[in-house]
Symmetry: C2
Subunit: 211 residues, 2 copies
DNA sequence: ATTATCTATAGATCTATAGATAATGC
DNA sequence: ATTATCTATAGATCTATAGATAATGC
């Protein structure tokens, strides 16, 4: 079927020099996984194209068959971290039966779970200084939309509705800061069970918000 | 007097190729300031020794007269960010006349003010992935001591004293996470007045702590 | 024939050292 | 003589392209 999936059978093209058990991922996905690991642990600038390609199981030059370079990998990874949270946020915004307090709590919990969940600490990518570059405007746009969802949910709560505009902005920033700052906490102690931690963070977030 | 201060008069040694108005800083301090700016804005790995030296007003090779390389600059900058907070924390721990709640609030406020205060967002250095390297063990030691001060102050409050050990650890982590996460908030909106922001963060921190 | 990979490499860096130079100090 | 700086550069990368090669597909 798909040209991306790596079926068990023989594959077209020259075989890889470094034979390995089939990862089950497409070459592009192998590259993304390798980049995720290296970017989060060593940093973006410190990671060479050779390191990414070789961790993915191919030679440095072969990488260019799938991506235009490191930037494309980072841009792809960044957006893939926010998109699931944003989907969740949109659903919660549309749900007008559940109290806003509960929806905000749920958004916090899900977001922390997604940020701290996966194999690699992908949320850690946000912290890379390179991410501020114009090149990653797409990521910034979705992240801004997510932050705005936090703001809207907060404004819809009883406590949030009573706030002046500038005060609402400040609380949103603190709330969002806590959620993203949790990446640092998770980095310092990756062993802690994620789901209990996500709930505790959501509790703390509502306390910050003044609820 | 000191061999470091840059007096107004003539100076020993070959003049710099790129003449500039006297910064009033010693060459080493000029290098540190340049490194602070570049490391925080572009990232550590992405900053070349040439960029640092040239921003400091000297040629690339001249830098090695003062420091062994980039690593030394980063190590120095990192420690210089925690040390003032740590001094404050020690004083607050020793003060047994003021209620623990007030001391914890004050530590949060001061810490945020120091992190967000200076010209460059030095706190942003914590976020660099390279900082986890063994080379920066000195920084990690002082940072751990600071975190422990947060824990002790929290434990000394009425609300904190009632917590089980694991619960106390979790709250300490969340508290410390908020404070350090504030770096991200400040990065996204550097225009916000720092002192009001520091107070608001301290308020939020106590709310997280459950006080 | 088409494809995925490989090897080889040009060109562009970047770091850290060697040795020269232009000031002041004695 | 001492010092702070400079210029020049060797050696070590790292990226991205060119062109060869070893599979399957028809």
């Amino acid at each position: 079927m798909g040209t991306t999936g790596a079926q068990g059978g023989r594959r077209v093209g020259r075989p890889r020099a470094d034979q390995r058990p089939d990862s089950g991922l497409s070459p592009r996905a192998e590259l993304l996984a390798a980049a995720a690991e290296l970017f989060t642990t060593r940093g973006y600038a410190a990671t060479t194209t050779r390191a990414v390609a070789e961790l993915a199981g191919m030679r440095q030059a072969s990488m260019y068959h799938y991506v235009s370079g490191k930037e494309e990998l980072l841009a792809d990874l960044l957006e893939s971290t926010v998109t699931p949270s944003l989907t969740c946020a949109r659903e919660l915004l549309a749900d007008d039966l559940t109290p806003a307090e509960d929806r905000l709590w749920e958004l916090c919990r899900t977001d922390v779970e997604l940020l701290c969940g996966g194999t690699h600490n992908l949320g850690g990518l946000y912290l890379l200084p390179e991410v501020r570059a114009e090149r990653f405007a797409g990521f910034h746009a979705v992240r801004a939309e997510l932050k705005d969802a936090y703001r809207q949910l907060l404004a819809a709560t009883a406590a949030g509705g009573a706030l002046a505009k500038s005060e609402l902005e400040l609380r949103t920033d603190l709330l969002f800061g806590l959620i993203e700052g949790v990446i640092l906490v998770h980095r310092s102690d990756p062993e802690r069970p994620v789901s209990a931690f996500a709930e505790a963070t959501a509790d703390a977030a509502l306390r910050i918000a003044g609820i």
